[in-house]
């Protein structure tokens, strides 16, 4: 009797202790909008936990835009400077500029060749982030793209190029809206597209080499934008542009494609509104999965990213549920999806248009010159 009681107490101890001992927390820190945190917490995390008993995935968001990546950079950099043996971030999701800085300062661990999904990526962005070499350190989680959203009731044929847009706003004043450079990346992207189209240095902005003397050329093209701004409405932020389109206050404006489709899927968007990608293009960007150099659970982090980059997850999670363009080569994803679901993403912008007019953001030095030039020339 005594023995049996002892046994049951021991058993109880094992039962309660076992999960506690095996419980590992994978810390995922994500820059970007709330939907990125939702993606990990509501979709990716639970699936990964189910496949790996004893693992808990905890995702934290650091906020939208480059500032979100900046916060992750500052945290890792502080831990590096403090000489910590292990860092408390296992997987980070960052923007291109953030990734470039982090690779440069040796805050990240190369991992692409360690995981199977590393072979599935094909786009140049897996190696090059705004001119910085990030080969091996990053895998694109998804790609997103800026495009014009327009109301076809008011705009029968959307402008096909920036030149046509310039004529269009003069005929239809206060019908085009964008959010400047201080209200979010869709406005910044529009300004980048404008400079690429009007400065004649599109190629050079993307591929380099960086030439500090090009500032004059950039500022000349921005002078045209100052004139253009007289005919447009400034909107309060990325969501502000979509709001104003919905309320019929503007007829056209640059938006993030994924945000547009998500609003559409949630019924927050006028279902008539369509997308168009003008020539010579608007920028888009990937978000990257990265692993900090001294991540406490590096092996598990690799497993997590390998899972996140698998064609099944990319098809069901990234494309179907969250309306992003896939991070890995589309050919692996398309075969895992219903044609209808796949085509939904390409209704307005065909894959051919996307590959022709979906541009990367300029090199980071040019990026800085352009946004500062905007303040100097357009805002003064």
């Amino acid at each position: 009797m005594k023995f049996r009681m002892l046994l049951s107490v021991a058993a109880l101890g094992v039962v309660t202790a076992a999960p506690a001992a095996a419980q590992t927390t994978l810390n995922v820190v994500s820059a970007g909008d709330q939907n990125m945190v939702d993606y990990v917490n509501n979709y990716l995390g639970p699936k990964f936990e189910q496949m790996n008993p004893g693992v808990k995935v905890r995702a934290v968001g650091t906020g939208p835009g480059d500032s979100g990546s900046q916060k992750i950079y500052e945290k890792l950099s502080a831990q590096q400077k403090a000489g910590s043996a292990t860092w408390d971030v296992d997987v980070a999701v960052v923007h291109q500029r953030g990734a470039a800085t982090m690779v440069d300062e040796k805050l990240l661990m190369p991992y692409r060749n360690d995981i199977a999904a590393g072979k599935l990526v094909s786009r140049d962005t897996a190696k090059n982030a705004l001119g910085a070499n990030v080969d091996g350190y990053v895998l694109p989680m998804f790609h997103s793209q800026i495009a014009f959203a327009y109301n076809p009731d008011l705009v029968k044929t959307p402008p096909k190029s920036f030149t046509e847009l310039n004529d269009w706003v003069k005929k239809n004043p206060k019908q085009f809206g964008y959010n400047g450079v201080k209200g979010g990346m869709s406005g910044v992207g529009f300004v980048m597209g404008w400079v690429a189209a009007n400065s004649g240095m599109g190629e050079k902005l993307e591929k380099g080499p960086y030439d500090p003397n090009a500032k004059a050329t950039i500022e000349k093209s921005l002078a045209g934008l100052k004139d253009f701004n007289q005919y447009v409405v400034m909107t309060p932020g990325n969501a502000g542009t979509l709001d104003m389109l919905n309320r019929g206050e503007i007829a056209m404006g640059p938006v993030w494609v994924d945000m547009f489709y998500t609003w559409m899927a949630d019924g927050k968007m006028n279902p008539k509104v369509k997308l168009a990608l003008p020539s010579p293009g608007l920028p888009g960007q990937p978000m990257y999965y990265v692993i900090p150099a001294k991540a406490a659970n590096a092996a598990l982090a690799k497993k997590f990213i390998d899972f996140a980059e698998s064609p099944e997850v990319q098809a069901d999670g990234i494309v179907k549920q969250f309306n992003w363009y896939p991070g890995i080569d589309p050919q692996y994803v398309q075969s895992k999806m219903e044609p209808a679901a796949w085509n939904k993403l390409f209704t307005d912008i065909s894959p051919a248009d996307l590959s022709k007019n979906g541009r990367p953001f300029p090199l980071s030095q040019y990026f800085t010159d352009i946004v500062e030039g905007y303040e100097r020339v357009v805002l003064k």
Partner: protein, 291 residues
Amino acid sequence: MATLADGAIVSAPPGGRGRWAAIALVAPALLVVGVFFVVPLLLSAVGAFRAPGGGFTLAHFDKSLELYTKDLIFTVAIVALSTLLIALVAILIAGYLTLGENARAVAILRWLYRWPLFIPFVVAGQIMRTFLAKNGMLNHVLIGAGLIEPISAESMLDWRGIVIAFVWKQAPFVTLLLAGAMASLERQHIEAARNLGAPRWRVLIDIVLPQVRGTLLVGLVLSFVTMLSVLSVPLMINPNSPTMITVDVAYRINTFADYAVANALCLLSLLLAAFGAAFYLRHAVQRAEDT
């Protein structure tokens, strides 16, 4: 009458032991203020003058003034105008609460005016974003009431939106202070003036206001300084040029990781706030001397 503001000035206790005990008691609070407020403030001030190499420079101020002079002026103008309007609204409401003769109207107003006090700035910004838009609720009401033509409806999401949000949010705060001060006045003055036939507005301007001038000014100074530091409202209503200096500070950090120019901009807005602080201190000292 002792108020909260006077609480800071207490007579020193006699004898050495009490004095050390008092210092020991305030030490934790002082430490927190020192470590989490004064030190970062000093670091920020130092950062505004530090060149990338570590030397002294004024380059960050040059850049701040080159790019953001317009925004600095805009900020001062917006905050000054808002302060003025807040004063007007607060005087009207507090005046009616003190001198109003319809008990029911006074009760309703007393209940209503405090609501915005409990609403954070960011929420106020969000409310205004849909309320003041071109096809927003305000214009719908105005068009529906036949007050404006649909074609002349325009968005107020510019400087006007910021001013409206600030006044809406801060006027109740000043009203609260002002109404409190007015309520504690001796009623005889008011009643004497009324008996001699003065209309209520004369009583408000000539009898009541001069006696609560100090409270009104303190409330306005506190609002002025608070509004200088609000980021959410301009960011949500009008982040484009010209905008308030807080948006520029956030922008320098978020887009360029440029803490130096951001620090310089902060120091410039600190200068603006310092006017308010100097005024507040002078008034507080005066009050301490009076009592």
